[in-house]
């Protein structure tokens, strides 16, 4: 009995000393590393979300402007631009209902038409919680000229230089 208690009593100070190794550089470094990982990941994820959304809206604006200037009738031009932009956003995995399409200009020969597509990007998206921290609107504008020599439009091709 005495021998057994002697065996169990001796190693304790050694184990205590062993577990302190790396403590000074360890505990706070774990917290610091976790903080850096968390903040860094959020910053990079936000930046990537904005870049990705910008790619999508740039594509949508380009397709929208192209569809507008190639529309068969002035009354159908805006719908064509909307549909083309929505199709791009859908193909990019975005919700077209959240997109805003603004068209300036009209479908007439030589007319300069601008299509602006805006899309809100949540600044923080967490699993199970959803979006938090507000959102940022990503916007892109594409300008195109209506072909003065195209068919289907009234008037003559007389663009002012």
């Amino acid at each position: 009995m005495t021998a057994v208690s002697a065996v169990t009593a001796v190693p304790e100070p050694r184990r205590w000393r062993r577990t302190e190794l790396g403590q000074v550089a360890g505990i706070e470094m774990i917290a610091f590393g976790t903080l850096v990982l968390l903040i860094g990941t959020l910053v990079i994820a936000d930046a990537w979300a904005i870049v990705d959304a910008r790619l999508a809206v740039a594509e949508a604006a380009r397709e929208g402007a192209r569809a507008f200037v190639q529309a068969t009738a002035p009354t159908a031009a805006e719908t064509a631009a909307d549909n083309a932009a929505a199709a791009v956003m859908t193909s990019e995995g975005r919700n077209p209902a959240r997109m805003t399409v603004t068209v300036t200009g009209q479908l007439a020969r030589c007319e300069s038409v601008s299509v602006t597509v805006s899309y809100p990007v949540p600044l923080l998206r967490l699993p199970l919680i959803g979006t938090a921290g507000g959102s940022m609107s990503v916007r892109s504008r594409q300008t195109e000229l209506v072909d003065p020599y195209r068919s289907g439009l009234p008037g003559t091709a007389s663009c002012q230089p």
Binding site: G22, V36, T41, V43, V51, S112, T143, L145
Partner: protein, 162 residues
């Protein structure tokens, strides 16, 4: 306090136990920096695409500057160089180039019924500015050609101008 115990303590001081904890923040920093580089490279790619889109739109718009007298008198399809350059420059100015900054004036070349627009710009990194050595602006170039359709007119090889 014997020589043996002093030696043991000295070995404990040199021990590598716990060094993995020091490596963790370093590894995390490396991952974050690599992520930042990925985002910045994507930004440069986005800027290049924007510049390419602007050049394509400008070339397409400039291709509408057909020289009317030649077309209506002889059916020849040629571009009016002065008007094509004006239209192209106006088109570039109307584009929304928020991700890229143009450096220098756009170059517009017109030959026959073909027009070539060349743009050069710089893209500034978003996250790389915080990392020493990665904050430099990247130069991007874009070039687009548009050829007016038509059977009659000066023959230009496809993309022969640029």
């Amino acid at each position: 306090m014997t020589a043996g115990s002093a030696k043991g303590r000295s070995e404990e001081g040199r021990s590598e136990k716990g060094s993995a904890l020091m490596l963790m923040p370093a590894a995390v920093l490396i991952v974050v920096v690599l992520g930042a580089l990925v985002v910045d490279n994507a930004t440069v790619w986005l800027g290049q695409r924007e510049l390419g889109t602007a050049a394509a739109a400008a070339a397409t718009d400039a291709a509408s500057a057909v020289y009317d007298p030649a077309f209506y008198q002889s059916g020849q399809v040629v571009l009016d160089p002065a008007r094509a350059v004006t239209v192209a420059l106006r088109s570039v100015a109307a584009q929304d180039l928020s991700g890229v900054q143009l450096t220098g004036a756009p170059t517009v070349e017109v030959q026959g019924r073909q027009v070539c627009v060349t743009l050069t710009g710089v893209v500034r990194p978003i996250l790389g500015r915080a990392i020493p050595g990665f904050g430099e602006s990247r130069s991007v170039h874009a070039r687009a050609v548009a050829t007016v359709a038509g059977d009659s007119g000066s023959a230009v090889a496809p993309r022969g101008l640029c």
